[in-house]
């Protein structure tokens, strides 16, 4: 038997790419079903209060309407999750909350009739105003529950205040990031069917197993009676990890019309209140250093918001204790519970917002110390993980910075702001570091079945949210089985397969791949020891769990990266263009260079969008996001995206997992906004600490003759 060519490392096209570009890959809502009905949600028009009366008469009388769901007739659910207690009472806890649903023969009738449902409210005052550190405010904040147990929410080492007081150079800056909305191209959609004794749910999700458990629990069903299918997902970015009211409402509707599939798609406007968001943050970073730039103290704190129905916290200060050597360090994280929808996971939750602040502050420190910002970071490179005091399983931040500097053409760089001009445009360059932890989520199993024909069937209830997981995971399986990739048929996206953790935390390949690896090892071993290396006539099947990582307590495991950006700022209008971004990442072994590059490229593009464009604008009077469509919520358009170069450092880390991968989904966005903000400072001399960096922040005041930054 010849050793097959390793599949890992091959830039394979996605197996489903051709189907997708030809429109043949059915997404959840597109799955052909017989005699569907359509559901449209009714949303609250107040933020806090109580529904005092409901009049469905007009809606019910509308020809084609089959039923109107409200809290008065909805099935009672069993769940502790406030986001799932849909239509369980007359209480309204945020504006836009789903308070009803109309089931009709067509989507147009359902939508029209939803507008005819009359709700009377008893309104109470609401508070949706997240504020930074203001007197008397701290007492109303909470320290959130830990997000990942290995990263304590607050950390403290040494005496930060004393070290800051005696430091030769100090930076003390406040930063803010806005409310970001995911805006996956495919909105949240469901086709729910009650089959008599259970549900079949076709939906757009990051985790079929999690949805199955949530729906089964809420409707008091055995999980085996809930089948969740999600073969293709058109973007998710964290917004499709947790089940929410939309799924519950669709399932409730399905109970009312047994045998008829209920089709439910959120409108774009509805996704702004129904699908979570990255919580806005107020952050403060204090740095103390010697005049040589060596840090003596790092302090980072963050305030963000959660809802009153379910706590969700982004751990925005999580990355800080992993970054730089300093004997005195403190991180603190608070949440304010407001009358808003519950925030959720969004690409690099925590790192994306937190590293904007930390890496902007590092740039400010470099200027204060008159040091090149790359040199500053190199001088503060730790020998071991500053918080865990463990060696890093691998750490190539310096290599990323140096390789990036070489490729970007960082040198020679006059650090003086406003030193470079081209016509009416000021030019600047900026750099920032990136990091993301290597995580392994529990709860996955993989089954591998080999037949006498030598073909391997790999089953796992993972999902491919558009990242190319189906392809990359098949590459992992082929190498684990030591067979040609053509012999492997990997299936995912169905809860009837062995359970799997959700697609998130850049942990998909690690978590699912480790289970597949384990199953493959056991299968190969059993083939050899029990069957003399020959597949028995009726085949052989093995199921294995994701094993624990034996090195978890011996090493700190993180990816690192370096982000570079060149910006141009129009001297008269403040318009900002980013002609170049360049990222170098160290994320372990790359399974599929083509799909991995797309992940990093997408992350960097979103970093651009985060830096310059995105912002959900909250109307404090009403409590809702005003700019709730893609005409008003700006994401970077093609014309905004310049040349983006993606590179990676070869890394071979034997401690992270059998594949030696670290995950590539999140890190591309981390640090990108800081690199751009730092470049904007270099171009203009104006330090923007509040994202997004819009042109009005760079316009001069109304002084005659003044120009940008002048």
């Amino acid at each position: 038997m010849t050793t097959p060519v390793p599949a890992i490392g091959q830039p394979l096209d996605r197996f489903d790419g051709a189907e997708k570009v030809r429109g043949l890959a059915p997404y959840a809502f597109e799955h052909p079903v017989e005699h569907p009905v359509y559901l449209f949600a009714v949303q609250s028009t107040i933020a806090v209060g109580r529904i005092t009366a409901i009049d469905c008469s007009q809606a019910s009388a509308r020809p084609g309407v089959l039923a109107v769901l409200t809290h008065q007739n909805a099935p009672r659910l069993s769940t502790d999750n406030g986001e799932l207690r849909t239509l369980q009472s007359d209480e309204v806890t945020f504006r836009g909350q789903i308070v009803g649903g109309v089931i009709a023969e067509t989507s147009e009738i359902a939508r029209d009739a939803a507008g005819l449902v009359r709700m009377d409210y008893e309104e109470r005052p609401h508070n949706v105003d997240l504020r930074g550190e203001v007197p008397g405010h701290r007492e109303r904040l909470k320290v959130p529950d830990e997000v990942l147990p290995i990263f304590p929410m607050d950390t403290s080492e040494g005496d930060v205040d004393a070290a800051l007081a005696s430091a030769a150079v100090r930076v003390d800056s406040r930063y803010s990031t806005p409310w970001y909305t995911h805006n996956a191209l495919e909105p949240h959609t469901t086709i729910a069917c009650w089959t008599g004794d259970g549900f079949t749910l076709r939906l757009s999700t990051q985790g079929v197993t999690g949805i199955q458990a949530a729906v089964a629990g809420a409707f008091r069903l055995d999980p085996s009676r809930v089948r969740v299918i999600s073969p293709h997902v058109g973007g998710a970015f964290g917004s499709k990890v947790y089940p929410r009211a939309d799924v519950v409402l669709a399932a409730m509707a399905a109970r009312l019309v047994p045998g008829r599939p209920v089709k439910f798609a959120l409108t774009r406007q509805q996704t702004f209140s129904q699908t979570g968001y990255r919580p806005p943050t107020f952050q403060r970073v204090r740095l103390g250093a010697g005049s040589d730039g060596r840090l003596v103290a790092i302090e980072h704190n963050a305030i963000e918001q959660t809802s009153k129905i379910r706590q969700f916290a982004e751990h925005s200060t999580r990355a800080t204790p992993s970054m730089y050597a300093a004997p005195n360090r403190r991180t603190q994280q608070w949440v304010a519970e407001l009358d808003v929808p519950t925030p959720t996971i969004m690409r690099a939750p925590g790192e994306a917002s937190g590293m904007f602040a930390l890496e902007s502050a590092m740039d400010e420190l470099a200027i204060a110390c008159d040091l090149d910002p790359i040199e500053l970071r190199i001088r503060n490179e730790p020998q071991v993980h500053p918080h865990f005091q463990l060696p890093f399983s691998s750490r190539n931040l310096v290599a990323c910075l140096q390789e990036g500097a070489r490729r970007f053409g960082w040198e020679p760089r006059d650090p003086t702001p406003r030193a470079r001009r081209d016509g009416g445009w000021l030019i600047g360059t900026g750099v920032a570091a990136a990091t993301y932890p290597v995580l392994r989520l529990p709860g996955s199993k993989a089954t591998i079945r080999v037949g006498p024909d030598g073909r391997y069937l790999v089953l796992i209830a993972a999902v491919d949210i558009g990242t190319g997981t189906r392809t990359a995971l098949t590459q992992v399986a082929a190498d684990a089985l030591q067979v040609d990739i053509e012999q492997v048929d990997l299936r995912l996206g169905d809860s009837t397969y062995p359970p799997a953790a959700e697609e998130g935390a850049s942990a998909g390949i690690t978590s699912w791949g480790a289970a597949i690896h384990e199953a493959a090892d056991q299968l190969r071993q059993r083939l050899t020891t029990e069957h003399g290396g020959t597949v028995p006539a009726d085949g052989l099947e093995v199921t294995a769990d994701t094993p624990d990582n034996p090195y978890l307590k011996q090493y700190a495991m993180h990816s690192f990266g370096a982000q570079f950006a060149e910006v141009r700022v129009n001297e008269r209008t403040g318009e900002i263009r980013v002609p170049r971004q360049l990222g170098v990442f160290a994320c372990g072994r790359i399974v599929n260079p083509k799909t991995a590059r797309s992940q990093l490229l997408g992350g960097m593009t979103w970093g651009l969008s985060m830096a310059l464009h995105e912002q959900s604008v909250l109307d404090l009077r009403f409590g809702h996001v005003v700019n709730h469509d893609l005409a008003q919520y700006h994401i970077s358009s093609n014309a905004d995206v310049g040349a983006i170069e993606v590179h990676w450092i070869e890394e071979d880390d034997p401690y992270v997992n059998p594949m030696r991968t670290k995950g590539v989904g999140e890190i591309g966005i981390v640090g990108a906004a800081a690199a751009i903000a730092n470049a904007v400072y270099h171009a203009t001399g104006v330090r923007i600490r509040d994202l997004p960096i819009t042109l009005d922040k760079l316009l001069p005041g109304d002084r005659p003759g003044s120009e940008v930054g002048g």
Partner: protein, 329 residues
């Protein structure tokens, strides 16, 4: 979306007659704005009269050097037409700076002018809006108004007109030919759109059932030196924060004649007569350009969230004039 009737007619007068009998009906062109508003429940016509095949979809030369644009001409075709590109470059630039390629293929020239003014609260039926429901109040004045008007506002409405094309046409003294229940008439582009005043529900002076059949561009030899400059929050596919349409006639460093209109600043395309007046006969230098811009913006009444538009409009106008004065295009 409400149920509605859909009708076609074989003639312009037939279409006009159909709508005259339907006080809540509307003409349907490309539908790129109307259909959106219908989905949102903002527009609820009970009859749509499709006029796409009734009016000309061509660009033609007029005797004397002008150009006539058929009301049904898709935005993309109008932008690409050699007569438009050669004689009125800023019209082509304005069209290409708006929307996306797909929308420009569908949107008609007249429909572009008849987009409803924009405001986030107008588009959200759960919030008060004097334009959508007269007398309910304006949510924008005390709310999110970053994109909204600084000139010609009223206590009832601060919305802005979104059309880039209208700005270029207003600068060029274009006229709009209409056919309504009362017959045909010609309306100056600068008179087509209204300031909100106490009646913000009316965007234009058109009567119900009055159909735009063509837009005429008068001869303007110096418009070959013209430019449309749009400043927005991203490089493409966004409404103007501020736009400037300008054409200039220069001789020996002196402004012989000039046409300027501003977009993104008012409920209608804002013809900058005051700036034009100050510039005519004066030196083509930055100092004079700045004085003209400041004179035009002297009456600006920005709100806290859009005060930046005043210096932005000033700077953009100065920059555009300097570009035009810098040399022949």
């Amino acid at each position: 979306m409400r149920t509605f009737r859909y009708e076609r007619s074989s003639s312009v007068s037939g279409a006009v007659a159909l709508l005259a009998e339907a006080p809540h009906g509307a003409f349907l062109g490309g539908g790129t704005n109307l259909v959106d508003l219908m989905k949102l429940g903002v527009a609820q016509p009970d009859l749509l009269v499709d006029v796409r095949r009734l009016v000309s979809d061509r660009v033609e030369e007029l005797p004397g050097g002008g150009v006539r644009i058929g009301a049904g001409t898709p935005n993309s075709e109008c932008a690409a037409h050699p007569l438009v590109r050669q004689r009125y470059p800023m019209v082509s630039q304005a069209l290409l700076s708006g929307a996306s390629g797909q929308l420009r293929n569908l949107a008609t020239t007249a429909g572009n002018l008849l987009q409803r003014t924009r405001c986030p609260y107008f588009q959200d039926i759960t919030t008060a809006c004097n334009k959508r429901e007269p007398g309910t109040g304006c949510s924008a004045i005390e709310g999110h108004h970053r994109d909204l008007a600084i000139l010609g506002t009223s206590p009832e409405c601060v919305a802005t007109h979104p059309s880039d094309l209208a700005v270029a046409l207003a600068a060029l003294d274009a006229t709009v030919r209409t056919h309504g229940p009362g017959g045909e008439r010609v309306i100056s582009m600068t008179e087509l759109h209204r300031l909100p005043g106490p009646e913000p529900q009316r965007d234009t002076v058109l009567q119900h059932g009055e159909l735009i059949t063509a837009i005429d561009l008068p001869p303007a030899p110096f418009a070959t030196r013209s430019h449309f400059r749009k400043v927005r929050d991203r490089a493409s596919y966004a409404f103007a924060l501020v736009a400037v349409a300008a054409a200039i006639d220069l001789a020996d460093g002196v402004v012989r004649d000039v046409r300027i209109a501003l977009g993104g600043v008012a409920h209608k395309p804002w013809r900058a007569y005051r700036a034009e007046e100050l510039l005519r006969g004066g030196p083509a230098d930055e100092e004079r350009f700045r004085q003209a811009a400041e004179a035009e913006l002297a009456d600006a009444r920005p709100m806290p969230g859009n005060a930046f538009k005043v210096p932005l409009a000033r700077n953009t106008l100065v920059a555009t004039l300097l570009d035009l004065a810098g040399g022949p295009r």
